[in-house]
């Protein structure tokens, strides 16, 4: 086991840049959660138990908007569906690991740690992938928890943050997260569809309009991808 420690440390080290990148989001999440009326312990519990940044942010908007529990859970599932893809990619590597390790790997699976592990697999292969991943994921997990806690403390130091317009902070953050992805016509069409359906359906109860709008946006994206594939195969 002793020889595995340097590998785990290497995993943590390679995760550092991504952990730094996640820092502002952890702080903003903690701050917004408390401003949205969650007790600090709930914000930290969410980071510790759910451990899924974008779903956590979106859940705040939903909780604040009085969404029904099934809507929150469904949205969480939709937002996190991409993790099934990572799960599938890692499945051949993890086949030799025992069940407890695979469960832990699944619990800690994030965009960041998946990316770090995939990069290492390309250069170093699958040797010692487990200790490497565990080092990476444990570090990233503690990083996310710590910055969430810092955010809740910040928010408590400044009561009345919500009155200052922290409801905007959330959508400003979301806009900054979404905009860089609008690099082609298809994502723009997805955004326009989702945005207009969301506006048309915003008065539906339990934030159902959000689910409807997200599905409509994805559907338009799928249709455009399909047409592009058809045109590519039909071309002489």
């Amino acid at each position: 086991m002793q020889s595995k420690l340097p590998v785990a440390l290497a995993g943590a080290r390679d995760t550092l840049p991504l952990a730094v990148g996640a820092m502002p989001f952890g702080v903003i999440f903690g701050t917004l959660a408390v401003a949205a009326g969650l007790p600090p312990i709930a914000a930290i519990a969410m980071s510790a138990i759910v451990f899924a940044g974008s779903a956590q942010f979106i859940s705040l908007a939903l909780i604040g908007g009085g969404a029904a529990l099934p809507v929150i859970w469904l949205t969480t599932g939709i937002v996190n569906l991409r993790h099934a893809l990572y799960s599938a990619t890692l499945q051949p590597v993890a086949r030799r690991w025992t069940l407890p390790w695979r469960l832990l790997t699944a619990f800690w699976l994030t965009d960041e740690c998946f990316a770090v592990l995939e990069r290492r697999r390309q250069t170093a292969g699958d040797a010692d992938a487990l200790p490497y991943y565990l080092g990476s994921a444990l570090f990233f997990y503690l990083n996310w928890l710590s910055w969430t806690a810092v955010g809740t403390l910040l928010s408590q130091q400044m009561p009345g943050l919500a009155a200052l317009g922290l409801d905007f902070a959330m959508i400003g953050t979301f806009a900054a997260m979404a905009a860089p992805q609008l690099t082609a016509l298809t994502p723009v069409a997805v955004a326009l569809t989702a945005g207009s359906v969301a506006w048309q359906a915003h008065s539906l109860p339990y934030k159902l309009g959000l689910v409807l709008a997200a599905l409509a946006g994805v559907l338009v994206g799928v249709m455009r991808d399909y047409r592009k594939r058809r045109m590519a195969t039909a071309a002489p």
Binding site: M46, I49, F51, A52, A55, I58, A61, I63, L69, W73, T76, G77, I78, V79, N80, L81, R82, H83, L85, Y86, S87, A88, L90, Q91, R102, A106, F107, L109, G165, F168, A169, I171, G172, T173, F174, A175, A176, M177, A178, A179, P180, Q181, L182, T186, P187, V190, A191, T193, A194, G195, A198, W199, G209, L210, A213, A214, G217, V218, V222, D225
Partner: protein, 106 residues
């Protein structure tokens, strides 16, 4: 902390964990259809814009597309800066500043 909040968090955990564990724990030898992979790529933009748009164009409930709507202007600023240089944090901070300024002027 209320029971509803606990239920929210536990439900989110169950959903998230099942998705993450899907292939790793249960799906030996399952494959992911490429069309589904492509569809998943559209999810973040769709969900984020679905949340942003109603809040930005009608923060008080009625449509307000004027330049004095700090939510709309702030959202556009955040999106424009992030789109231009990809720096999320810069975009977020700049949009907060613009939002605060407009709120203060109003």
């Amino acid at each position: 902390m209320s029971d509803t909040l606990w239920a929210t968090i536990l439900g989110m955990f169950v959903v998230t964990f099942l998705v993450r564990a899907s292939f790793l724990v249960f799906g030996q030898g399952l494959r992911f259809p490429p069309a589904l992979v492509q569809a998943l790529g559209h999810v973040p933009v769709a969900v984020l814009t679905a949340i942003i748009v109603p809040e930005a164009v009608a923060p008080a409930g009625q449509l307000d597309l004027s330049l004095t709507n700090p939510y709309l202007v702030g959202t556009v600023v955040a999106g424009a800066i992030a789109w231009k240089n990809g720096r999320t944090l810069t975009a977020v901070i700049a949009s907060f500043a613009v939002f605060g300024l407009l709120r203060w002027l109003a």
